[in-house]
Structure formats: structure tokens, C-alpha cells
């Protein structure tokens, strides 16, 4: 700058070398994938503190116990293994605790530490965030169910107890695990997202599970005592785990010793409709919640 050229200039803009970003832009899909992977790792405490890993891995270990016992029974007593289909219903308290303790990790912490505006200022809508978190929760639930089922199946193949291999039972149980994951994942996430407090989120999810379960149990008892077995079967479906299992049982057939679910076409279509309604309502709640939170 030459002072004699323009003596009355009071301010100047220097070019100090700021440059536009012209590297590759990874886009919306990549953002979705990153949120999903971050969520899935977070559910199992990976990338978080050691204390955060205790709960999820404790639950994974407990889930594996029946599979280990089943393999031991097959190896020692040469008997047929524990029916694959019953795992999710027998272990439902453990699955409920896993869902309750880990769903708030996915949705409450982002609200609590005010990081949502950072996500929402990037390419990708708020619904992308919701769906990425939902996929992560569902994937985690599926994994925690699929792992013991697969361990038991591999054990069955290796031990080779007398009788045919239960391939159909294994595959239909894996399909049941998918149904359970997408249904309970949505329900748990919708409840947990209502608060930014992790502790309250855990309590709220477990409260929903416990109240539905106990209500189902009491009504089941009432109808059994009064001889209304058909009504009792419907009361059984108030428990969300039984609702999903009823859909599984209807689609792939009842295994022996299965829990009592309604029969016939209505016994399949109504649970299926109710299951889809739970998923749709939960995602609707999440969408409504994320329209206003974090802005």
C-alpha cells in the first residue's frame, strides 16, 4: 500500500490466505454411516470409558450362558439342545436391561452435552440422525441375540448330537431376532429420547417394560383362573417380547413347548399389525421430539 496513492483510506482488507475447502465432500450417506457406527460402538462402550464397557459386556456374557449350558448338555447327555426360538423370551429381563441401560447412551448424551446443533448443521436432516441412531440400537439388539444363537448352532454342528440339525429353528430364530431388534429398539429409543438425563431414561424404559409385563401377567392369571384361555392368549401379547415372538411363531410355526399365542390368521395378522404400529408410533414420537430438541 502506498500512502501517497490514496491518503484518505482508513481501512484495508489484507489477503492472509484463507482458502475454500475444495477437497472431497463425503456427503449425507457417509454422515449417516458415521453416526450409525459411532452409535453401535457407543452402545457396547467402545470408544468410551472402561466403566461404560462394564454393563454391555456383562449383558453379552449373561446372554451367552444359556448357549454354553446348551452345548455342555449336548456334549455330555447327547440330548437335543435348548430350543433356539425360546432364547429371546427366556432371556427377556436381560434384553430389557440391556435396552434400558444402553438406549439413553445413544440419545440422551447428545442432548445433554449440546452436540445436536453440530450434527444438524451438516448435510443430512434431523430424521437422518434419528434413523442412524435407531439402526444402531436395532443392530446392537440383533447382535446381542444373534451371538448366543450362532454360538449354540456352531456348538450343535461341532458336537453333532443324534437327530437332524436344527437349521430351520436356528434361521427362524435369527429372523425373530431381527423382528425383536427393530421393534424393541424403536420403543426403547422413543422412551429414552424424551429426556436428556441418562438415569431417568434408564428408569423410564425399564418402567415401560416392567409395567407391560406385569399387566400382561396379571390379566393372564385372571383369564386363566376364569377359564377364558383364548382371552389369556391375547393378554399374553401385552408383553412386547411375547408380541414379537407371536409374530415369529405365526410366520415360522410354533416349536414344541412354545408359549401360548392366539391361533389362526387373526392370531398372526393382529400381532403383526400391533408390532408395526409400535414401530411407526415410536419413530413418530422420535421425529416429533427431534423436530424441536437441539436447536
Amino acid at each position: 500500500m502506498h500512502p501517497e496513492a490514496a491518503p484518505d483510506i482508513r481501512g484495508v482488507i489484507h489477503d492472509i490466505g484463507y482458502r475454500r475447502y475444495d477437497g472431497p465432500r463425503l456427503g449425507r450417506l457417509h454422515g449417516f454411516g458415521t453416526l450409525f457406527l459411532h452409535g453401535l460402538r457407543g452402545v457396547f462402550g467402545l470408544g468410551r470409558t472402561a466403566k461404560a464397557k462394564v454393563m454391555p459386556f456383562l449383558m453379552v456374557t449373561i446372554m451367552l450362558l444359556p448357549a454354553v449350558v446348551a452345548i455342555a448338555v449336548m456334549a455330555l447327555l447327547k440330548e437335543a439342545p435348548l430350543p433356539y426360538q425360546q432364547l429371546s423370551v427366556i432371556m427377556q429381563p436381560v434384553l430389557a436391561i440391556f435396552l434400558a441401560s444402553q438406549a439413553p447412551v445413544l440419545v440422551a448424551l447428545d442432548q445433554r452435552f449440546h452436540v445436536l446443533p453440530l450434527y444438524f448443521s451438516r448435510p443430512g436432516s434431523r430424521m437422518d440422525y434419528v434413523l442412524a441412531r435407531y439402526s444402531a440400537m436395532a443392530a446392537a439388539l440383533f447382535l446381542i441375540l444373534a451371538l448366543p444363537l450362532t454360538v449354540e448352532f456352531v456348538g450343535e454342528l461341532l458336537v453333532d448330537p443324534p437327530g437332524p440339525v436344527h437349521l430351520g429353528a436356528y434361521l427362524s430364530s435369527m429372523a425373530g431376532a431381527v423382528l425383536l431388534a427393530i421393534t424393541l429398539g424403536a420403543l426403547g429409543l422413543a422412551v429414552a429420547a424424551a429426556t436428556h438425563r441418562r438415569g431417568l431414561g434408564v428408569a423410564a424404559v425399564i418402567a415401560v417394560y416392567l409395567v407391560l409385563t406385569v399387566m400382561s401377567g396379571v390379566l393372564l392369571g385372571v383369564f386363566m383362573a376364569t377359564g377364558n384361555d383364548d382371552k389369556a392368549q391375547w393378554a399374553n401379547l401385552i408383553n412386547p417380547f411375547h408380541l414379537v415372538d407371536a409374530v415369529r411363531a405365526w410366520a415360522f410355526g410354533h416349536p414344541p413347548g412354545d408359549f401360548a399365542y392366539p391361533d389362526g390368521l387373526a392370531g398372526g395378522l393382529i400381532p403383526l399389525g400391533a408390532m408395526l404400529l409400535v414401530i411407526a408410533a415410536s419413530l413418530g414420537l422420535l421425529a416429533a421430539r427431534y423436530r424441536k430438541v437441539g436447536s
Binding site: 470409558t49 466403566k51 461404560a52 462394564v54 454393563m55 429381563p93 436381560v94 430389557a96 436391561i97 434400558a100 441401560s101 448424551l109 445433554r112 452435552f113 424424551a194 429426556t195 438425563r197 441418562r198 438415569g199 431417568l200 434408564v202 428408569a203 423410564a204 425399564i206 418402567a207 416392567l210 409395567v211 409385563t213 406385569v214 399387566m215 401377567g217 396379571v218 392369571g221 385372571v222 383362573a225 376364569t226
Partner: protein, 238 residues
């Protein structure tokens, strides 16, 4: 006891979103009792089942969890407890005041709805409603004290509480009879059984043991949380 701390704690419990859970859960139980009464299915056996499974098996631990951790865990999580602890009030008094608030909420939101549900079902018959009222009141006090203590000890109070209530009292207690000796829900039922004369109801744990255990656990947890609050460290691990 400190009136200001009590007022702040009440405001935190009743003024926040927590109140919806506190109101909804007892309402569902009383609603279910009313429904059974209106459809003429309310008999004494069913009343006992509802009390055992819903009031003692679900409502009591859930309320203990929400109330016992809610009165203090929220303030520890947000770090605002230091403003309370930095006042010239003895730390044990802070803990005892919060426990008293929790106990009062347990009576209002767990014990009284239990009595209402029982009374709706069978009236004063065999002392079922009164028995479970006294039982849930005693058990509610113990739950509040224990969960308050866990909140002061760890950040994962709610998860640990859920594991105790569902896995230990539910699953393990169902399979291993010995575990029932160390279950607040079983002690609650012993108190209820000592008042009620219902033939449909028999507690597993003798009253003498249950009463002593309830008192020891409640006092022990209260004193320990008071002492523990004296050396509380505020660090985040989320």
C-alpha cells in the same frame, strides 16, 4: 433436617418431567384394580396377586429407583450439588433431608396407591389392603435409602438398581430360595403377611428376620450415605 434443602429437592422431583412417571405408574395400577372391580372379577385371591406382582413386584422397585436416585443423582450429575454441600450444613443432614423427602414421596406415590388399589378390589377384607399398605411403606423406605446410597456411591445407580430389582429379586430369587432372604420385596411381603389374614398369601421370609433386616438396611444405608457425602468427588465419566 433442613427446610430449604427439602424444598429444593421437592421442586426438583415434582417440577421436572419425572413427575409424569411418578403419577402414571400408580395410576395404571389403580386403573387396573378399578377395571377388575367393574368387571366383577375382583376377589381376594386376585387382589393378592395384583398386590404381589404389580404393587410389590413392579411399582415399589420402580418408584424406589426413580425417587431414591432422583432426589440426589440429578444434582450430582449436573454438578450443582457442590453449591448445596458448600453451605455450612453438615453433610449427613443433607443426606438425611433428601432421604426424608424420598420417603415421603414413596408413601404418596407407592404405598397410598397400593392401599387404594387393594381397597378398590376387596375393601377391608382380610386386611389385604392395610397389610400391603404397611408393607409397601416399610419396603419403600428401605428402597429409598438403598437407592439413595447407591446414587452417592456410583454414577450408574439406576442401572445397578435395575439389576438388583430385576435380576437378583426377580430371576435369582425365583430360582434360588436362599436369595429371597436378601430381597426388599420379600421383606415387604413378610410385613404385609403379618397384618393380613388372607389364606391366599404366605410370605417366604419370617417376620422377625424381615423386620430386623428392613431396619438394619435402612439405617445402615442412611448413615453410610451421610458419611459418603462428606468425601464426594465431582468428576464426570460420561
Amino acid at each position: 433436617m433442613n427446610a430449604t434443602i427439602a424444598a429444593v429437592t421437592y421442586r426438583g422431583m415434582i417440577g421436572s418431567r419425572r413427575i409424569w412417571l411418578l403419577v402414571a405408574l400408580p395410576l395404571i395400577m389403580v386403573g387396573l384394580a378399578l377395571l377388575l372391580r367393574l368387571t366383577n372379577q375382583a376377589d381376594e385371591q386376585l387382589a393378592v396377586i395384583l398386590m404381589q406382582r404389580f404393587a410389590v413386584g413392579a411399582l415399589l422397585p420402580l418408584m424406589g429407583l426413580i425417587v431414591g436416585t432422583g432426589v440426589i443423582a440429578r444434582e450430582i450429575e449436573d454438578g450443582v450439588i457442590i453449591y448445596m454441600l458448600s453451605k455450612p450444613i453438615p453433610r449427613p443432614v443433607v443426606a438425611y433431608t433428601k432421604l426424608l423427602v424420598a420417603v415421603s414421596l414413596m408413601i404418596v406415590f407407592a404405598a397410598i396407591p397400593t392401599f387404594l388399589a387393594g381397597y378398590l378390589m376387596v375393601g377391608a377384607e382380610s386386611g389385604v389392603a392395610t397389610g400391603f399398605f404397611l408393607g409397601t411403606a416399610a419396603g419403600g423406605i428401605a428402597y429409598a435409602a438403598v437407592f439413595l446410597l447407591i446414587s452417592v456411591l456410583t454414577r450408574y445407580a439406576v442401572t445397578i438398581g435395575v439389576i438388583y430389582a430385576l435380576i437378583w429379586e426377580g430371576l435369582v430369587g425365583g430360582i434360588v430360595p436362599g436369595a429371597r432372604q436378601f430381597s426388599i420385596q420379600q421383606w415387604t411381603q413378610s410385613i404385609a403377611d403379618s397384618v393380613s389374614s388372607s389364606p391366599f398369601f404366605k410370605a417366604d421370609v419370617p417376620l422377625g428376620f424381615a423386620a430386623v433386616a428392613l431396619i438394619v438396611v435402612t439405617l445402615g444405608a442412611a448413615i453410610w450415605s451421610g458419611q459418603r457425602l462428606r468425601s464426594l468427588s465431582i468428576t464426570g465419566d460420561d
